[in-house]
Symmetry: C2
Subunit: 226 residues, 2 copies
């Protein structure tokens, strides 16, 4: 493989199509800016990006319909090479008018009577919230399920309840001041952003350069904004 | 049916679960705020919202796994009752740094060498763009496909190219000044927002009230923001 790579480096330009699969938080909030920066360096590459939940991107990586995947959910699979390139933090959010908006730290009791707005079953963001709720032994009395991060942010802004989202998804709302981050003291929920690809599969030069770009901190510019 | 409705009105409270299906633009940008307002009026109702493309919501309405659907794409189906409740306009967008950002109106020629960032095949937003491109006889030289509205906005902000989206999806970016709307003179692309439900299916009181709320302009508060 290494020899093949070396030969390819000599003959291949960084060109062609790069098929990327991304789970929702990365695909919607991180990847577009990384792609924009990368494409200034390599303007010949064409992109197509599939966005779906981690499970779908996992499948696509296995079947080879994408060259690489970038996901926020946990994947274990011996057929894949899985490399962490960044960390994500999940935070609680309320609207700026919410009584808890002024608190930097809240307690479990503060959340007891709140309506929780969460993603559908199978979403990595929902799994993260369920883990936190279990950790603080909280069973929400009211639950609303909304099938997208964007919809959840709008509902929280409109005062429907509280939610837990990746802080990377909150950049604009924090700038506009419409949403406030609240945290539970001594509780920090993090997860890994990873890049995944099939083992023993020839990697195009474009794919290799893109992966190197991410692994060497190419996402860091985007990821230092909150 | 009418007699059944009248009896139900007498005995039913506006309570229970309301299962709504929504296509992306409505589901992510319009519905959450409508729901927030409606739920202040009827706090007993529980909601679950499925977000998918128009085709998926159409299927769900037929099979009865949702009580009603709100969609931006065109549906024709004799098994469904389809009522228009609002209009949507599709507009071109560029980043604030883009040379075209200062133009209120652009020409076909202005777009000739631009990279177009568009949704995947099967998306109503993509179909709308393809109709406009055909109308002005433009075949983009460069195409990037990104699987979500949010991802497209981030990519346009980062300077990757131009896109066409519903103006309801642009509220925050217009407030922040990161995106600019540009229009082609004498060309206005509109589409209908409709509420769809199965014929000859008993409608719960909650569902009836919600539909009435939308049809009587309950979405208008949200829909006058741009």
């Amino acid at each position: 493989m290494l020899a093949k790579r070396a030969v390819a480096d000599l003959v291949e330009m960084v060109t062609g199509e790069l098929r990327i699969g991304a789970s929702f938080t990365i695909g919607e909030y991180v990847l577009p800016r990384v792609l924009a920066a990368f494409s200034k360096k390599y303007p010949q590459v064409k992109y197509s990006v599939t966005i779906g939940n981690t499970e779908l991107i996992h499948e696509r990586a296995l079947e080879g319909s994408i060259d690489l995947g970038v996901v926020e959910g946990h994947i274990e699979d011996k057929q894949l090479i899985i490399e962490e390139f960044s960390q994500d933090e999940m935070v609680f959010i309320v609207s700026k008018q919410h009584p808890l908006a002024k608190s930097k730290y809240i307690t479990r009791e503060d959340l007891e009577n709140e309506t929780f707005i969460m993603r559908e079953e199978g979403s990595g963001t929902r799994i993260a919230l369920e883990e936190v709720l279990q950790e603080i032994s909280l069973k929400p009395v009211n639950l609303i399920t909304l099938g997208s991060t964007q919809a959840i942010k709008e509902a929280v802004e409109a005062g429907m309840g509280v939610a837990m989202l990746s802080k990377w998804a909150l950049r604009k709302e924090l700038k506009l001041g419409t949403l406030k981050i609240i945290r539970i003291k001594d509780l920090k929920k993090t997860r890994s952003f990873t890049v995944v690809r099939r083992k023993e599969r020839f990697e195009s030069k474009a794919c290799y350069e893109f992966r190197k770009y991410i692994m060497n901190g190419g996402a860091s510019e985007v990821l230092t904004l909150v």
